[in-house]
């Protein structure tokens, strides 16, 4: 066949480098509305759920049992289950129906019922509902801060810059897990350099992650993964009860926690019980709620290549975020790992959470170049800042991050790197040279950093942990090395754990060091001029640009 020149051009477009797949319901490769998804049902006898979604109590697996016991408000369940799904869907987009009423309904229906409500909504309706249902009034954002070399100096500088740009939660992990204590420390120190500090975490194997939290080397936890089928959940050596126990362990030390789940994870782990991705995610949401956790990170997160490859994937992902909000939980809504070569696709995906606003629009904006993002890259990275700012300015939307001046960034990065040098010296850890500080201050990526002695760093990190190193040691080292303001900020963050205020739903630490959550900053959207409205002051911040023409120039 003679080839069309237009088809030749199209073939080479970035979108055609992405992986796509047909639906395959038998292995769960279907975003929502699988013919194998159960029909909603409930039967309650003597206050006990004896049937749920077509399964008798005797047939329940551990996830069913946990949800039926702790995840559904039984006194209201029969009445809520009688409501038509279409009616609930319409209430979601009706500004006259308050959020609380929908939360009450969602908490007293079954996973299959909630999924069927979603199937009545198109994406614009999902976005309208999301705007109303999110927990915190002020939208915010989370960033990834990692690098290929696990370089702690660069990591602290990158953290500080991210806080300056407005990220209120920062997440790291380790390319080599034995480096983790230094990575956690870098985020802790970097986050305390700007304003009064923000929350930080280090994603790791759960026991290690908990240990870092208990020691005060992280200030929140997120990577507590749950799955919608028993086989996958138990493959990770877990049960619903062990997850609940882990959540309680964090809460006992005043550490903010959210679980993580998302469409596609069960497909990737090879066990879906033939159910759709959204139905399995609904089970995760009720399981999370049942564990008493304040919030979730979902939105397919690191599995997005799977729902992203089948028809209707973005709609299912937006719906899973909405389900979390409907259950009264904080939602950190994905826009996390890279899933496409196409700028059009990645921006369209982002818009479904950026426009309505969620508690955390991205739960992993890469504050570094994607090449340094050890979470396998993010949908947006540091090269996209100016696009993000312009989009906020174009659309008049607050996406949670703001323009900054270059001088400020350089100063802030320098301060963070110096603080790391100070604490490393004070704690007897391997030296950080002035050359490294200089490099971290002006760096683009880890390629700009002089190499460190990785083996010595790993040994020192292990020794630090063995000798009982903690967040308080870091505060003291900051103070003793002359970084008094940073020491004060970090101590303030650790004190928050004693106060416990940031255990409230959707809590963040604001620029003045106060906790802002759904309790004191509740989203009360009920139509135009309600809910979050961008203030004049904030608009100045968001819309400012350096290279704009001014009438004064002419």
């Amino acid at each position: 066949m003679r080839r069309s020149k237009r088809f030749e051009v199209l073939e080479n477009r970035p979108v055609n480098l992405d992986g796509f797949s047909e639906e395959w319901a038998e292995v769960g490769l279907i975003a929502m509305e699988s013919p194998y998804d159960p029909l909603p049902s409930i039967e309650i006898r003597n206050g006990v759920i004896v049937e749920m979604d077509g399964k008798r109590r005797e047939e329940f697996d551990s996830i069913d049992l946990f949800i039926a016991t702790y995840g559904i408000h039984i006194p209201a369940a029969e009445e809520s289950m009688k409501m038509k799904e279409l009616e609930i869907a319409r209430m979601l987009v009706d500004v006259n129906v308050p959020k609380e009423e929908l939360i009450r309904i969602a908490c007293s229906i079954t996973p299959a019922k909630l999924v069927r409500v979603m199937s009545y909504l198109n994406v614009v309706e999902i976005m309208m509902a999301q705007m109303k249902m999110r927990a915190r009034k002020t939208p915010a954002n989370q960033a990834h801060v990692t690098n290929l070399a696990d370089n702690p100096v660069l990591m602290a500088a990158d953290t500080a810059e991210a806080v300056l740009r407005g990220f209120v939660e920062l997440e790291t992990t380790a390319a080599v897990s034995r480096y983790a204590p230094f990575n956690a420390m870098a985020l802790l120190v970097g986050s305390a350099v700007v304003n009064r500090g923000v929350l930080s975490q280090c994603s790791l194997e759960e026991a290690t992650e908990l240990k870092l939290g208990l020691r005060g080397l992280t200030t929140y936890a997120e990577t507590v993964s749950v799955y919608g089928t028993e086989a996958v959940l138990t493959d990770g050596d877990d049960t619903p009860w062990s997850k609940g126990f882990l959540a309680a362990a964090y809460a006992s030390r005043g550490i903010k926690t959210r679980f993580t789940s998302g469409t596609g994870s069960e497909v990737l782990m090879g066990n879906t019980e033939k159910k759709s991705m959204l139905y399995l995610e609904a089970r995760c949401m009720y399981l999370t709620k049942a564990c008493g956790v304040q919030g979730t990170q979902n939105g397919s997160v690191s599995c997005i290549g799977v729902p992203g490859a089948v028809p209707g994937g973005f709609r299912a992902i937006a719906a899973e975020n909405l389900m979390a909000s409907m259950l009264g939980m904080e939602v950190a809504s994905g826009n996390d790992q890279t899933f496409t070569h196409s700028d059009i696709r990645r921006t369209s995906k982002l818009f479904m959470q950026l426009l309505p606003g969620t508690d955390f629009i991205t739960s992993g904006y890469s504050a570094t170049p994607n090449l340094d993002d050890i979470f396998a890259g993010s949908n947006t990275d540091c090269d996209d800042y100016d696009d993000w700012y312009v989009l906020q300015r174009d659309i008049h939307v607050d996406g949670g991050i703001q323009p900054v001046r270059q001088e400020e960034v350089i100063q802030t990065r320098h301060r963070a790197a110096k603080a790391m040098q100070g604490i490393f010296e004070n704690l007897g850890l391997p030296e950080i040279s002035d050359e490294e500080i200089e490099a971290a201050t002006y760096a683009y990526s880890s390629y700009d950093m002089p190499p460190r002695n990785i083996v010595e760093d790993i040994k020192a990190a292990e020794k630090f942990m063995e000798s009982g190193g903690s967040g308080i040691n870091v505060v003291k080292a900051l103070y003793d090395s002359g970084h008094h303001e940073e020491a004060e900020n970090l101590l303030g963050l650790l004190k928050q754990r004693v106060a416990g205020d940031y255990l409230q739903v959707a809590a963040i630490i604001d620029r003045e060091g106060r906790v802002k959550s759904a309790l004191n900053d509740e989203n009360n959207y009920c139509g135009p001029e309600t809910g979050y409205v961008i203030s004049e002051e904030r608009w100045q911040e968001l819309s400012s640009r350096e290279n704009v023409m001014s009438p004064r120039d002419f």
Partner: protein, 192 residues
């Protein structure tokens, strides 16, 4: 260009804990060499094992191949393998090429080094993984194999990875014990 190596696995009985301090257990996933003969980017699994073994041997250790059936979860069978390894160190590998170095006294979901982006690994990377496993076996702390990262690998390969893992998981048998394997590698002529 290395010749394509066909992988033949011969079962030698149930694998037990060994006292051989100079061995590294190479733990193979349920479908390794059965339904799947090559990694996600088409590298023959025979060549992968040749490189892992060569790396292990270069540091004076011996590879011992054990096939796992109870789980397709890499952390799970790699950790089990470390527990029966005389040196306490294992290299776990899934059919699609995802790999990790594990140690017997670590938590299952922890590891010494992890190689999660299979589309990026060539023979040289697998050889370095083998070498580092032996170094851990000697009680050394080697420089980790340099981390490779490409955010577009996910965009292109995640759905393929899911389909391959579904095939892998089809062969899971929770009650099947791990089996000792003899590995035979046969050079095959490549079609032009």
């Amino acid at each position: 260009m290395a010749k394509k190596l066909e992988l033949i696995l011969i079962e030698k009985g149930e694998a037990k804990r060994s006292g051989e301090a100079n061995e590294i257990v190479v733990a193979l996933s349920p479908s390794f060499g059965v339904q799947q003969k090559e990694t996600i980017i088409g590298m023959p699994l025979g060549n992968v094992l040749r490189e892992l073994a060569a790396g292990i041997e270069e540091e004076g250790f011996l590879p011992r191949f054990v096939k796992y059936y109870h789980s397709s979860d890499l952390s799970s069978f790699a950790n089990e393998a470390a527990k029966i390894s005389g040196s306490g160190i294992s290299v776990g590998i899934q059919s699609k090429g995802t790999c990790m170095i594990h140690q017997r006294d670590l938590e299952q979901l922890d590891n010494l080094e992890i190689f999660p982006q299979a589309p990026l690994y060539d023979g040289n990377v697998y050889r370095q993984i083998g070498k580092n496993a032996s170094k851990y076996g000697k009680g050394e702390i080697p420089n980790p194999v340099p981390t490779l990262n490409d955010q577009y690998a996910l965009a292109k390969y995640q759905i393929k990875a899911a389909l391959l893992h579904i095939k892998e998981t089809e062969l899971v048998d929770p009650h099947h014990p791990p089996m000792e394997m003899e590995v035979v590698l046969k050079e095959v002529e490549e079609d032009e």
